[in-house]
Every structure is written in C-alpha cells, then in structure tokens.
Symmetry: C2
Subunit: 341 residues, 2 copies
DNA sequence: CTGAAAGCGCTTACAG
DNA sequence: CTGAAAGCGCTTACAG
C-alpha cells in the first residue's frame, strides 16, 4: 500500500497542497470552512506527513536530542519516557544520547551527532547542565536547548528546575520530628549543584530547629555504593555517632546499610536512614529505604514541551508548572531509640 | 555555516553527484581512483549526507526501532546502548519504543509509529518475541525484524539467542558443588520461554547429578519482588526446607532475602541464594547476590547489526557470533552448613 | 484567504 | 565505469 501524500489530500479536498500544508502546520489565515474540510479529509485518509520531506523542505529535522550521563538507569528511563511522550504529541522524533560529561571528546561527539542527526534542539540533564564549555558550544553553534536542573537557571536560559534543598529540608525535618538531633550527612560529588542544594537543605533544617551544625557529621561521598560504605563507617565510628544518616542518593544509602550490618547496628532501631532518588534498590532493601522521589518523567515532559514550543512556529508558549518532589517514608527511618540516648 | 552537500563534493572532485552517491553508498562499479579521490574530498569537507534527503529519495527512513517491555531499566539501557552503537556505525537512527506486551492497543500503537516514523526494521526483545499476533502483523505489513530471544528461533526468522538453560544449569551445578542437594526454584511467569528454559536448566543439573526432582521445591513467581517474598516463605516453611534457592530473577531473589531476614534465616550460612540478571540490586544487597549476567549490550549490538546488514544494500551478511552468559558469584552462596543437615 | 512555481539534497531508472 | 534527467513529498518566498 502506497502512503497517502499531501497531494492526495489536496485533490480530495479540492484545494492546493499549500493549503493542506497550512492546516497541517497549524498556520493562521485559513478560513474555518476550508480548515474543517481539509481536517476531515486528513482523517478519512489517515494522512501523516512524511517527516523526511517536511524536514528536507523546511531545513529542520523535527528531532530533539536528550543528553544524559547518569549511572542510574531508572533515572534515564524515566527521563526518556517523559520526553518521548511530548515528542509523540508534537510529531517530533527523539534522539537519545548517553554521554560522558568528563570525557574530553564530549563536545566533538556531540558536534558529530549534531551534524549527522541535525537535531533542532536539546534537552540537557545534570551534570551536563553545569558544563559551561558545553553550554558555550551550544550557544555558539546556535543550538537551542533546555535544562533540567536542580538550580534555577531561568534567568539566562530555558530551564525546568527542582528544588533539592526544599525537599531535603523536609526529609531532615522528618528525622528531627522523630527525635533525632545528631544527623549524619553523606554528600554527593561536591561540584554538582544538586549535592550542594541537598547540603543546604540539611543546614537549613538544622538552623530552623536550633540544632548546631557539626562539621564532623558531614562526610564526603561520590554517589557510589562503595563511597557510602566508607562514609558510613566513618560516621558510625564517630565518638558521638549520629542516630540518623541522610545519604545524598540511594546507592550510598545502600552502602550505609551494608556498613551498619557489618557493625551490627540495627536499622531503624539504632540508626535511621534516608536516601535520595527512589531507585528500585530502595524498595527492595530490608528494611525498605526512606527516600526522596523527583517527578522525573513530568520534569522531562515539561522540559521537552518547553523546547518544542520554542522550536515550532504557531504554538503558544508553555505555562510554567511547578513540580514537587516527594518524601517516601519506609522502614529505614523511625523514632530515636531512647535507650541509646 | 551552510552544510556541505553532495553537489559540493562533486564539484570539488570533478565528478557528478551520482558518482559521489555511489561512493557514499558503497556501491560497486566505481573505479578505485575516483573512489579514492572522492573519499579524500569527503574527508576534507567533512561531508555528511543529509539523512532527510537520502530518506526521501530512497524511500527508506534509515531508522530502526527497538521494542521493549521490561521492568528492569538496566536491562533496557543496556539494550539501547548496544543498538545505538551499531546505529551510529551504520548511519542509522534509533527509535526507542517502550510498550506493553499485554495491551490490546499494542499493535495499533505500533502501526501508528510505523506510519509516522517509517522505520525500516525492528529489534524485538522478550516478551514481544513470543507475541505471535505481533509477529504476524509485522510479517503481513512487510516490516523486517530481528529477535533477541532465549529461544532459538533461527529456523524461521533472524534472531540472536542466549541459552538460559545452559547458564542456569551451571549455576545450579555450582550450588550442587557446594554440597546442596535440596535446591528450591522460584519460576518466572510460566508462559515466557526464558522462564521455561531456566527451569529446564535446573532439571538438567539435577538429573546430571542424580538428584531426584521434587516438585514441592518448585514455586511459581512472576518476576516481582513481592512474588519472591511469598515464594520464599512457602519454601522456607517447607517441612524439609531447601538449603539453597534459585530465583529466576534478581528482584525475586531480593524478595527471598527479605523473607529470610524475617524468618531469621541467615544467608549464606543457612541458605544459599542465586538470582538472575545482575541488576544493580544484586551488588548492593548485603550479602552480595550471586547472579547471572547476560551479555545484553553485545546481544543487542549483534541483533542490530544483523538487521541493518539485511536492510542495507551492498553489505556482507554478518557472521553469527556466539555470546556467552556469565555466572557471577557473590556472598549469597556458600557451602552447605553441615549442622543443619 | 489561497495558489503556482521553485527548490530542499538526495536516489532512481535509464542511457551510454 | 560514469552521468543527465526526473522525482521523492514537502515548504519557502512570492503573488494575488
């Protein structure tokens, strides 16, 4: 079966192809009656514009790229789902591009991809959102992009942000409400704004509750399981150990569990624990891990829509929606054990 | 900067665009000298063919689709990485298509995608590989596809297979070598060939070692954490409980860990445990989970290459390579505790 | 509000 | 082994 073309639609509707094109592209200046008529024929014939032809004629690929460098595949898959959804909605294709933010070839690779796939715009996720060299390259090459970022970059570029500090503050507050006063904090990689925002939330929660900030309860991690184990060992061997630990992601929290098990410290009876990201690991640990979930899929679809509306003519700008993260309480947090205090 | 076109290359090389096209498409019947000359100019100008134009003229999208319905995102991301690699290598684009194998709309959705994205071929993964209605649809619509499958479907279609039974047999053998004779087995969804192959491997291992097959040690699961918990409870409350359990995936194995913890059964001292898939969970449990890893990325790249070589003219068929799965021993398995015997 | 003409950058089918 | 012509299905820029 041969595909239906714009000419076919035009013939059947008794108009020129150009007018069909106007309807397909949602252009103004088409009379309501011819628009209706053409839409009817498009439906009847199930006409779908040929993307290659659209793209060739308009010199736009109708493709957007999603750049990510994240060790958590659930994170990646959630992002993809969000962006994929809006792509389908607006007739765009999605080019996924796993990359290595630290690689010296990052930009060269991207340049090649840009040449071969001719993407019309990009959605960037951390840590690329903070890679100034990359951002500069995109600006200089005239590639539109949006950021999904824990920082509010909205002053300069299009971005969708989540406030890691607010939700972390909430998590710490819930530990405080459980009676914890000495709360260990395992950081992520310190250069990442997400890490800094989480630490900030921790500090704000302490301050709000008049708990003094004890530097010795802050231990640096790097988002890996192993770094969580080491950090936890350090915290748990502290002369005045914490009764709760907040780890800046779930993998490090899993590391804390391992360290606690080795040291025969029972969670949550002797130690409360909170992670970040709500990876599957969190639900499968025993006890379940209290953690924080970002609305990743919605963030991604929002970012994608922001980008596409900017790219397409004849669309309204998108209303910016506030997306909230969620604290998920599971068995790993509980009241302070008074016997230990 | 304007993009370099085939005409630019032709001008500079002093040939017609058609001849450049021949070189780009690796067609025969080009003299070695002009081929060299043109290749040189292509390099100098960094010419990349415009995919939209290629696609429009040749009526091929230069796109392949990857269909998956798998709850494990690491699985998904590994597959994507493999297919993406060959796509880049051969100048193809990748369309990712998460789907729901059980959805009544599966085929309709795919049909829409096929119309709008005009993919030249598809890579299918389980469980879609066993969805006869889907396969029939693809055949009738003339869409080429390859399968990544635990079954050897090579008789009828192109497929890349892994032998789940062989590797499961190895895993069970290693438990037997540790002295285990009563080994519980938690199945996956019974309709999936992967599940059946794993059970077969279990049976073969027992047979080889003259251990009688005890039906009461086989409990049905459905690949979820929860089903693992329930299955383990049943096995561990058996009047003559197993000293080892093989779970047909890691999520169910994590469920076994939880059940064991609840029943105060120590792993690996009182119970050995083996999972399947090597998800991150496996490495983050305490103790680490012994599991089986499929070479997913390589399977996917092999499948993708099989498909693309079939799609492209002027390529050689791919040599079929045998890919082996791997047993990963971690702390959750150990020798039988003689005191309990 | 609508349309005729030209062209996007390739490949096809044909000719030599 | 190489090339001139036509065309893929759209959009652009222009005209009315």
């Amino acid at each position: 079966m041969k595909a239906v073309t714009m000419q076919d639609v035009a013939d059947r509707a008794g108009v020129s192809p150009k007018t069909v094109s106007r309807v397909v592209n949602n252009e103004p200046r088409v009379s309501e009656s011819t628009r209706k008529k053409i839409e009817k024929v498009i439906d009847e014939l199930s006409f779908k514009p040929n993307k290659s032809a659209q793209s060739l004629a308009a010199d736009r690929s109708l493709l957007i790229g999603l750049l990510y460098d994240n060790p958590s595949s659930t994170y990646v898959v959630d992002l993809q789902a969000g962006v994929l959804g809006v792509c389908n909605k607006f007739g765009y294709g999605l080019v996924i591009h796993p990359c290595e933010n630290d690689s010296p070839e990052l930009i060269q690779r991207l340049r090649e991809l840009l040449v071969s796939s001719r993407m019309d715009g990009l959605v960037l996720t951390p840590p690329m959102t903070e890679n100034q060299e990359l951002l500069d390259f995109l600006v200089s090459s005239g590639t539109p992009y949006v950021l999904i970022s824990p920082l509010d970059n909205s002053q300069s570029e299009l971005s969708v942000s989540v406030d890691d500090s607010v939700i972390t503050q909430q998590a710490i507050q819930s530990l405080i409400d459980f009676g914890h006063r000495r709360i260990g904090f395992i950081t992520g990689l310190r250069k990442r704004s997400g890490s800094e925002m989480r630490l900030l939330g921790y500090q704000q929660a302490l301050e709000k509750n008049n708990i003094s900030y004890d530097e010795s309860l802050i231990v640096q991690g790097n988002f890996t399981f192993g770094s969580g184990v080491l950090a936890a060992q350090e915290l748990l061997r502290h002369e005045n150990p914490p009764t709760a630990i907040f780890a800046s992601n779930d993998y490090m929290a899993a590391g804390v569990m391992k360290a606690a098990l080795q040291l025969r410290i029972s969670i949550p009876h002797e130690l409360s624990l909170c992670g970040f990201d709500d990876t599957p690991v969190a639900g499968y640990m025993s006890p379940g891990l209290t953690t924080i979930r970002h609305p990743l899929e919605r963030l991604a679809s929002h970012a994608g829509e922001l980008l596409i509306r900017q790219l397409k003519k004849h669309t309204q700008p998108l209303e910016v929606e506030t997306l909230k993260s969620e604290l998920i309480l599971r068995g790993s947090t509980g009241p302070v054990n008074n016997k230990t205090n």
